[in-house]
Amino acid sequence: MSARTYRYIGTRPIRHDGLDKVTGRANYGADFTLPGLLQGVVVRSPHAHARIVSIETQAAEAVPGVKAVITGKDIPETSARLALGAEGAFDLHDIGDNLMAHGKALYEGHAVAAVAATSIDAAREAAKLVRVVYEPLEPVMSIERAIAPDAPILHADMVTKGRPLPGTTGPTNIAGRMELKRGDVDQAFAGADVVVEREFRTSTVHQGYIEPHACVARSGEDGQILVWCSTQGGFIARDFCALILGIDAARIKVIPSEIGGGFGGKIPVYLEPVAIVLSHKAGRPVKMVMSRSEVFRASGPTSGTRIRMKLGAKRDGTIVAAQASLWYEAGAYRGSPSGAGAMCCLASYAIPNFFVEAHDVVVNKPKVAAYRAPGSPMATFATESLVDEVARAIGMDPIELRLKNAVAEGDHAPYGPVYGPIGLKQVLEAARAHPHWSAPLGPSQGRGVACGFWFNAGLSSSATVTLNGDGSAGVVTGNPDIGGTRVAQAMMVAEELGIPVERVRPSVADTDTAGYTDLTGGSRVCYATGMAVIRAAQDIAEQLRSRAATIWNVDRDRVAWEPGRPGRVIALDESPDGSVRPPLTIVELASKMAQTGGPIVGRAAVNAPMAGPGFAAHICDLDVDKETGRSTVARYTAIQDVGKAVHPSFVEGQMQGGAAQGIGWALNEEYIYDADGVMENAGFLDYRMPVASDLPMIDTVLVEVANPLHPYGVRGVGEVPIVPPLAAVANAMRDATGVRFTELPLSPSRVLEGLGTIAKG
């Protein structure tokens, strides 16, 4: 496989959707409109935790222009579950209750009612007139409070799933608990030369996708439903709506728009079922668009965490023991990525003895959603900070120490299975060899390094490739294109059929047009959907063989597909008159489609196993102003095993984007709540994501250790890069200041507190 030479894979063609996107012509969620469109607005709870005593809607309904008002009563309470290879199955009861509170408002911003009207002003005015009587309850805003014996319980029926702590029967706010173990931890710590232990904290952070959630829904008199929306998966959006509302999937068609980022946050539905119910009630199409404030307060950020971790090592750098207690906030409903955190946090190192426990804790914050390598960054922040401590304690270079302990093919992952071919050692060697690692530092600078791991998903995908009469082709899949997957798919068709990428038109289709395809997420599209695309193209090649056999009037097994530019079919035998048959190119065969049997359509579907782990190492230079506590990333390099980079620019873009988000998480991003559990910084002004001028150009190094499960060796690349930055930045801070920071974000005031310059505020 590694010997294969590619014609198109590994090149950098212009993406087909590029011009539309840079000129503003591309249609995103909020761009869609229909005749008679109503505007929908959600009424949201001002309380973080409150019983809903009553809701009166008459005054709202009386506002001129108002066509429908709905409350939780209009969203059925279902017990359905949708298994989709996420952390357990999606609990649709919880998703339905999150769409609109039924009995209790569980976070500030929780939807309690919705209005559709002929104008946005009328809808907003009516929304203000929906009279909700609340009985406020004590908001539970931290893990400490949630697990206190006298804590208010969010869900009266909640018991701990998984492996509960002995004696916790419930009701409880600890929604889940998981253990991972290997060997004898106590004995191993006793035999360690160096033991480091610390408690770490990270804040609730948001994906910060630039495009707010938006949709248009039209529920017809005939019961047929159309939904246009910005989603990470047309099919998952459709199935959520169908199961929550109790409608046949066949009655709902979801047309995914272009998507302005998701990072996991556009897997759940927040507006779509509400818009369907409003449209059904009003008899007109309804559009709903979240404001930025709503996105922060009422979509799905990722968990704030508290992690206690301990590492033990020998003086030669061998890590012999690890112990960790992970506590992740789930938000208002169960389902934090604490289990994934537990599985990821030790995945880079071959540690013979460990014990990890992970807890999923409900608090009165928005229900968390997936966020790029969900769960891994926070727990890895703890591990990689401690690995740095071990390196300092024994006086070993931090990359050497990591290399000494790094996992390789044949080692067992902490979550069980044996690793196949993986590239962590190669990544670390590339990091050590990179000029960045040995470059001199400025006087106020420090350097940190950290590793990261992510699984990379597989799941189900379909693809259709259609050959056109002129020898060009179309490829249709059901994955909204977030990271340049369309051009990658066109490149795969080009590669298999030997036609230029520009002659392949890739499309993202709606749920009536594409075959079932799981979400765009889990770094799976280029791998799993790519696999379906490659097979669908190969299906075309197979059909071309038959067509050539027809033309030559020979048996199909006497012709062969010959990859080339263009791809062609060759005859294995001479013609009866002894002459050599000239090969038939794909272009010639395409022009004879009708005569040889009609249109040529290739299709394939896969349920791919998980792609196999991706590993990364990041190097960060941080410039710290010790008088103000403000820090600037001076230089940053991301090195990653990407399997095979189909389109290197987009792989680099994923690495840079993940690094940028991780740096933001490390330096300034955090949800800030007041004493009542009301979010104070629900906007980009005070939720401080990095802006372009905050970051240097992020250098990238692509290491390619082929994934044997994929014909080109592709493995996922999109999520790993958000894992190392939290610790890479914190380790650089340690290097620059001499102080180990264990709490993120490293905002200027926290840094000065850590340096002892000012008192804790």
Binding site: S119, D121, E627, T628, G629, R630, T632, L667, N668, I672, E680, N681, F684, L685, D686, R688, P690, V691, S693, D694, S747, P748, S749, L752, E753, T757, I758, A759, K760, G761
Partner: protein
Amino acid sequence: MLSIRYEAPRSIAEAIHLLASDPGAHVLAGGTDLLVQFRAGAKQPSAFIDVKRIPDLVGISLDTNGLRLGAATPAAAICEHAELGRLWPGLVEAVHLIGSAQIQGRGSVGGNLCNASPAADTTSALIADRAECVIAGPGGERVVPAERFCTGPGTTILRRDELLVAVVLPRPPARTADAYFRLIPRSEMDIAVAGAGASVTLDASGTCTAARVAVGAVAPTALLVDAAGQALIGTRLDEATLSLAAAAASAAARPISDKRGTAAYRRHVVGVLAKRAIVSAAARARER
């Protein structure tokens, strides 16, 4: 249905008449504060009185006495004015910090002052530069020093029917220069957690003969810190003196803890910024 009047008067008198006759009317300069507040539902004007068509409010005039800056002059025009950048580099730095290129195409110094955010970037620089505010009202004009213009977060000494027409700055004497520094966690598109402006005059030997220090975002309004300026006069701005001035700036601060920073942090960092502003202003003054 929402209905709002838009007026674009051509004279100060006309603008004052419009303001006087409609208590719900708001002056609109660049709108980069007002329209944001309007969209967020924080302000609900009955009319926008756009003052950008009034010749007296737009423009930069410079003579031997000093500068007259029309209140609604867009920030971009100030940043592009070479002579302003030479005479008041600190003020121009402060103006240049406002938002982005797009924001600077509309936002004005008058708007920055009248919006009366404690964190407004130009206000501390204006105070350090001894700016005065020219105010027009039904009874004629009055002039107040910049440090007295804002009275609290979002409030100024302007009466409802008054208009800020211009700010005037005296021409800096020989070996005088200014500087402005702010602290934001990011590099741009953020609101000052603390800010400090300084103007320093040196004699030929390098001794400080006059100085003003002003701080922002650490009290309900930007503050002139007399004690910090006084500490510098008669010294050669040695380290000990600078620390005294920094301590004076910190002592003058009456900050709050909020989402943008803790009180302790603001108190400390405003001293650091004051010191940096003094050092930078003095270095510039030496070059004159």
